[in-house]
Symmetry: C2
């Protein structure tokens, strides 16, 4: 067993200050200014002398609420999520909240598990940022758990797509990809491939759909065989690119459904000496990836703001009907898609 905890308690402070427990509580952690200044001063001095730190757990039990908010992401190492986390943490700090972060490793069931844990912690709120799959079952379980969480007085916000009747920061993946497709056609590309990420991953699917729509507006289609599924990460993009080359030869332009994959694709092209021959576009505009060469055409998502927005949403009183906040991406054309001159 670990050493027994023997921290300074409020009772110690009260005794040292020569006041009652209640008064000490009011002086230090209470709200109403119902304590005489000189007494308050005395209590505060005692607390400082004893280096008192209020037991947040005990306060939580007594008050029935905490200042903890849980953030559930897929993988904190992924810059997409770490930017969102940074935004959420910044907003949390501004509001005196602590953030507990959990990573699911892209297993939908982990989301449910953490939500339950956060309910146990009596977290004030849960924010879930996940490119959830279309696994209907997992979604139902998550919905049930979040429901229980809300009924027990907690607040919930999702980041991604609107799949559940809770406050959601909706990312316009489809519209962004559509815009991108339109712009690429405008640059003269006609022959496309898509590195589509995993089947069943909603974010990926939305981006693929939108992209196809953007092309379709100009009667361009992505042949079925030029859509390569694979992992949602760098290696997934790399491998899918190689396979696409093997299968289709040199398409003019490749859309990878996120930047990390796009970078993998670029690496694959480079290994074949094709990085200036085949155009590549990504999605997200990941900060740390802005210096790759050729600079990546992409759809910029304000990830930090998205994290902040989710946290702010969750801080507000619940509305009777779930709020949606739409965040659009903005196409950023760079040298990875220089355009083609058609004769």
């Amino acid at each position: 067993m670990g050493a027994k905890r023997c921290a300074v308690t409020l009772e110690d402070v009260a005794r040292q200050a020569g006041v009652s427990l209640a008064t000490a509580s009011r002086a230090i952690n209470g709200s109403a200014r119902t304590v005489r200044p000189e007494i308050r001063e005395r209590v505060e001095r005692a607390a400082r002398a004893l280096n008192y730190a209020a037991n947040a757990q005990a306060q939580a039990v007594a008050r029935g609420r905490t200042n903890l908010v849980g953030l559930v992401v897929q993988d904190i190492e992924d810059p997409y999520f770490s930017s969102i986390a940074a935004g959420a943490m910044r907003a949390a700090e501004a509001n005196g909240l602590m953030v507990s972060i959990a990573g699911t490793g892209r297993r939908p069931d982990k989301e449910v598990e953490y939500a339950a844990a956060l309910r146990g912690l009596r977290a004030a709120a849960i924010v879930i940022a996940g490119s959830r799959t279309d696994d209907r079952d997992a979604l139902d379980r998550l919905g049930a758990e979040l429901d229980a969480f809300e009924r027990s007085g907690g607040r919930v916000a999702l980041i991604g797509q609107r799949r559940l009747p809770v406050d959601t920061v909706v990312v316009a993946n489809r519209a962004g990809a559509r815009d991108l497709g339109t712009r690429l056609v405008g640059l003269g590309y006609r022959s496309f491939g898509v590195l589509a990420g995993p089947r069943g991953l909603l974010t990926a699917a939305d981006r693929l759909t939108g992209f196809a729509e953007g092309l379709a507006a100009s009667d361009v289609v992505v042949p079925h065989e030029a859509i390569m599924y694979g992992e949602f990460d760098r290696d997934g993009g790399h491998d899918a690119m190689l396979e696409l080359l093997a299968r289709r030869g040199e398409v003019e332009c490749v859309f990878a459904v996120n930047d990390v994959m796009a970078v993998g694709a670029l690496a694959a092209l480079r290994s074949r000496g094709l990085e200036r021959t085949v155009a590549v576009a990504g999605f997200d505009d990941i900060t740390t990836l802005r210096d790759v060469t050729p600079a990546l055409t992409t759809v910029r998502l304000p990830l930090v703001e998205i994290g902040e927005a989710a946290l702010e949403m969750v801080l507000r009183e619940p509305a009777d009907t779930p709020r949606r906040r739409l965040v659009r991406g903005e196409v950023v054309l760079r040298e990875s898609t220089p355009g083609v001159r058609r004769g």
Copy 2:
């Protein structure tokens, strides 16, 4: 005020199962198998039916300990820290712990503040990953706070350099940079510049010192005017590189004290058409940066393992004398330092 929390309590479960509170507690959250199977089954069924989630705060108060560990980093968006966080979170999950993450934004006082908050939360442990400054005062305050935390029964580990008498995962910045310097001299470089990061940032200073030592072994020195101080991030590297070019012209090889800065430096060189003329080396081997071109020579640090190691350290019983776990970096030569042929 927010809605009143009215979660299912253990008492509800006990009543529903027709047993006493104590029995219900033992059946669900207790350790010893001192409950008859059929009763346990009954209690568990009741809990499930009621969708009971134990109040972790109340458990914490009653037990006097929590399963929360606090992780304090500078900036979760920085891949250096997000990798460490990923490692710590992975190890935490494997041990049934929740992780609360706080970002200091590189303000040393925030470390103290969060440590105090975590003491209030009765966190089981605190892990601080910070390239702390040489600000003696801030360090003393942190030491005092961590001391109070430990005395109240918590465990502490640091990641970085050994500055305080607590368990530490020591990163061999100096030795790594020394090796790097040696290898670069071996490649034929003689004229160096260093993008040294902020003055007073220990990690940066250690890397600079080590690098200079590595060169000195071959009687190569970095001229004082070729050491450029600046921010520890991408823009810091970029700007410092431009300034170095302005001041010294084309040195043969530039050492940026971290990869992110090195990428900024590459961008600056590229803007001058010099990215294949001036060699660049970094430090860390950040995963998402492995595909920049030219591929970056660097010192690889096992960041995820470092995070795991810190968490494992903190899980063990405290030793009577602080533990140190040394992690060395490994030089990785890539095309950003092709070497020179001297005539």
